[in-house]
């Protein structure tokens, strides 16, 4: 197994400038209506998912009981051919859509991150593949501990 430890901070000139340009171009595409949506149904509408099919080809790793709702580790792997985007929604968050990941050519259909969940809710992962939408849903319990600070 090879591992790198070296990292280089890019400056505004050089590599940084190359990468910031695409960021500026994408700024207008942040899906405001989808991120503002207060229900899963509305969020799905705004990401263009008119119909969503349950799928057993989305592998979701999430806790059964989140130790702390502020930092819930989630891992998604899609086995659906032509996976384009992974969406993560937490049903009872004030705005359910937490994040979306476009998986462009050269990436594997895999994402892991950590999200905030306001309370016990369905965690819903939606995969866009071949311009169709698929989903897997799992309840994640979020509690306030007896000795919690």
């Amino acid at each position: 197994m090879n591992a790198i430890r070296r990292k280089i901070l890019s400056t505004l000139l050089g590599a940084g400038a190359v990468m910031l340009a695409p960021l500026r171009a994408m700024a207008s595409r942040w899906n405001q209506p989808a991120f503002d949506a207060r229900s899963v149904d509305d969020a799905l509408k705004y990401i263009g998912a008119s119909s969503v099919a349950d799928s057993d080809r989305i592998v979701l790793k999430a806790p059964e009981i989140a130790e702390n709702g502020a930092i819930v580790p989630i891992e998604v792997s899609s086995r659906i051919p032509g996976t384009q985007t992974i969406f993560i929604l937490a049903e009872k968050n004030p705005q359910p859509l937490a994040a979306s990941f476009d998986l462009l050519e050269g990436s594997e259909p895999f994402i892991a991150t950590r999200i905030k969940m306001a309370e016990t809710a369905n965690l819903k992962v939606v995969v866009k593949a071949g311009d169709k939408f698929y989903t897997v849903t799992r309840e994640v319990k979020v509690t306030i501990g007896g000795c919690g600070g």
């Binding site: 197994m1 090879n2 591992a3 790198i4 430890r5 070296r6 990292k7 280089i8 901070l9 890019s10 590599a15 940084g16 190359v18 990468m19 910031l20 695409p22 960021l23 500026r24 994408m26 700024a27 595409r29 942040w30 899906n31 991120f35 502020a70 930092i71 819930v72 580790p73 891992e75 937490a90 968050n93 004030p94 705005q95 859509l97 937490a98 994040a99 979306s100 990941f101 476009d102 998986l103 462009l104 050519e105 050269g106 990436s107 594997e108 895999f110 994402i111 892991a112 991150t113 950590r114 999200i115 905030k116 969940m117």
Partner: protein, 104 residues
């Protein structure tokens, strides 16, 4: 802040597993500052782009629901030693940062 993010890359065959830790408060705009009692304003990363040899491979849109000091793990195909992996982010206040690393 000395480094805006940390990156770790492990190469398994032709797949580079990339783990990134970004230092960012990811404020929801709902939290009260414990000292002042004032609401801490919304401040979160909206866009993250990951590149492989300059070409975008992941294009992510985030909300304030991504955890503080966010973690991201993704995998790049067709990678080999010497390749460059780049991560850039931009937040709702227009702040941004980039890092570039070499597959070992």
């Amino acid at each position: 802040m000395a480094d805006p993010m940390r990156i770790r890359i492990t190469l398994q065959g032709e797949v580079a597993d990339v783990k990134v830790l970004i230092f960012h408060p990811m404020e929801t705009g709902l939290r009260k500052d414990p000292v002042s009692g004032e609401i801490v304003p919304l401040h979160f990363i909206k866009h993250v782009i990951a590149t492989h040899n300059g070409k975008a491979v992941i294009d992510a849109q985030w909300s304030q629901a991504v955890s503080r000091n966010p973690f991201l793990n993704f995998r790049v195909r067709g990678a080999k030693a010497g390749d460059k992996i780049g991560i850039s982010w931009q937040d709702n206040l227009g702040e941004s940062a980039s890092i570039e690393s070499t597959v070992g």
